[in-house]
């Protein structure tokens, strides 16, 4: 759906994006992760044709993006990080205007506007946008972005400044539209990414430092740590005496690092043979946050 090939962008002598390439498959949610200032918004603006790339090319559904001539934008819906509207309009008037600008006919645009307002839960609001909360503005942003049934929905940090309820609402909406469209979603809130994304890319200093499906990325950085939680302190102590290389996190919890699968079988055998009571034994999976911090540390 989206192909970004070798794009670079500088503002003066400051290089923002350097030889950036990635692909977003159809009907997936792609998480574009990076710190503030990593170049996420600049990349998105280049995809939207609002900024020209210095080098490289961008294809949306096979069509080349040309800056200043936003023809490919008919295929894209965009939700800015802080969406601003004409506050003297009602949400319906705003959507009607957006729909007409994208080329929908009057009858169709009315139908779509009502449907979108229903979807984002704004249909009861007949008043002007002036009094809208941040969350309501984000929801209206999604409605305007999806109004013309775009093939690609680009959301720039849609959940950054929302309370937990507002965040949940936005993430639920994004998950629900996956069947109809492809979503490119930039953020630095990693729990949001883990919750809804299929594919991810970490952007650092204008370069992609890690990318792939969520599973792949996590597996590629799988740790060799295991945690065993015992029912009682006595069993934990007995286990630790037999395998002293472990660390006691608290009275019933032991952690073993740098071990292989063989070791885990030995542990399980010992536990079974000595009838030690455990609550759980698990391989510790890295969170995206761990990965993100690790990548930043490496750089």
């Amino acid at each position: 759906m989206l192909t970004v090939r070798g794009i670079s962008k500088s503002f003066g002598s400051h290089k923002i994006i350097e030889n950036l390439s990635f692909e977003v498959p159809e009907h997936s949610i792609f998480g574009f992760i990076g710190q503030n200032g990593a170049g996420k918004t600049t990349t998105m603006k280049m995809i939207l044709g609002l900024l020209p790339a210095d080098t490289g090319e961008i294809l949306v559904n096979g069509k080349k993006v040309t800056a200043g001539n936003n023809k490919t934008n008919g295929l894209i819906g965009y939700l800015p990080d802080v969406p601003e509207y004409y506050e003297y309009m009602t949400p319906k008037e705003y959507l009607m205007m957006c729909g007409r600008i994208t080329g929908l006919d009057k009858k169709n645009v009315d139908k779509r506007a009502n449907k979108m307002l229903d979807m984002v839960g704004l249909s009861p609001y007949k008043k002007k946008i002036r009094g809208f909360s941040r969350g309501m503005k984000q929801r209206l942003g999604i409605a305007q972005a999806l109004l013309h049934k775009p093939k690609l929905l680009i959301c720039d940090e849609p959940t950054s400044a929302l309370d937990p309820l507002g965040r949940k609402e936005i993430l639920d909406i994004l998950s629900s539209v996956k069947e109809e469209t492809t979503v490119l979603f930039s953020t630095h809130i990693l729990t949001d990414v883990e919750r809804i994304c299929d594919n991810i890319a970490f952007l650092n200093q204008g370069k992609i430092v890690l990318s792939g499906s969520l599973e792949e990325v996590k597996n590629s950085h799988k740790t060799s740590e295991i945690e065993i939680l015992f029912e009682n302190e006595k069993d934990a102590k007995q286990f630790l005496q037999t395998f002293p290389e472990g660390k006691q996190i608290h009275s019933c919890l032991l952690q073993y690092t740098q071990i292989c699968e063989e070791d885990s079988f030995i542990y399980m055998k010992y536990i079974a043979k000595n009838q030690l009571q455990i609550q759980k034994m698990e391989w510790l999976e890295p969170t995206l946050e761990d990965l993100f911090l690790e990548i930043l540390k490496e750089k």
Binding site: N69, P80, Y88, M97, R100
Partner: protein, 256 residues
């Protein structure tokens, strides 16, 4: 065309719902009425002051007022209408870029030219409406009190100032396409007017500058003839079009 009409509709909603339409209406009424009113009140005011003036040894003869007095007042006030109009709309483009309200619209595929065309149409329409309504009000009162008979070349003189206003709006649009704040736009527009003012100080070139049209009121008292303004009118119209053309070039390059 559809996108242009939709954006124009949005511009109309903006001026009608943010109070700008009311302000324009009030300006129109106040300036339209004040010209004949000042002319009508002048003899009475002078009579009131005549006693004080005679104590100072000054003799006041009878003051005759007619439509010419009122129209002369109109040309003095026209600059105020134009200045208020320019200040009111100095942020029409820059504020949209500053706030980011254009981002969702631009990402719908609308061309920046279309936005500039709609804004320009709204500004020219607004100026036309305000200016000619004020003219209409003054004309009606003048006709009622004295009849519009004394002032000569009235339509030509009024048209001259109107064209000058169109040029100033074109300068405002050009500045809005280049600069990023409405203060900058106002300063830039003033600077262009300043250059025009300095240029007119050289009598040899005075007839070639748009600012010449601000003195079109001289036609009423036959100090000048329409042919003295012809060059300036043509140059002003051509310059306005060139400025809008350059504005199109810059708006396409403007960073969102």
């Amino acid at each position: 065309m559809r996108a242009f009409l939709e954006f124009l509709k949005k511009e109309w909603l903006e001026i009608s719902r943010t109070g700008k339409l009311w302000i324009l209406g009030i300006i129109c009424l106040v300036f339209g009425i004040s010209n004949p009113a000042i002319a009508k009140l002048t003899p009475w005011l002078i009579e009131m002051m005549s006693e004080d003036l005679s104590e100072l040894g000054m003799t006041v003869s009878k003051v005759v007022v007619n439509d010419l007095t009122s129209w002369t007042q109109f040309f003095k006030n026209a600059s105020m209408i134009l200045i208020i109009f320019l200040i009111m709309f100095s942020g029409t483009i820059t504020l949209e870029y500053e706030k980011g309200t254009l981002i969702p619209i631009l990402t719908k595929g609308i061309h920046p030219y279309t936005i500039l065309a709609a804004k320009t149409t709204m500004l020219f329409t607004g100026w036309t409406a305000v200016y000619w309504c004020a003219v209409g009000i003054t004309y009606s009162y003048n006709d009622f009190f004295w009849g519009n008979v004394v002032a000569k070349h009235l339509v030509f003189a009024l048209f001259g100032y109107y064209i000058f206003g169109v040029w100033m709006i074109a300068v405002l649009i050009l500045m809005s396409s280049i600069l990023h704040s409405n203060i900058g736009v106002l300063l830039g527009t003033s600077a262009v007017f300043g250059v025009d003012f300095v240029g007119r100080m050289f009598p040899k070139f005075a007839n070639y500058f748009p600012g010449k049209l601000t003195a079109s009121g001289e036609l009423l008292v036959r100090v000048a003839e329409p042919k003295d303004y012809q060059k300036s009118i043509v140059i002003t119209m051509v310059l306005s079009m060139i400025m809008l053309g350059i504005g199109c070039y810059f708006i396409k390059k403007k960073k969102v």
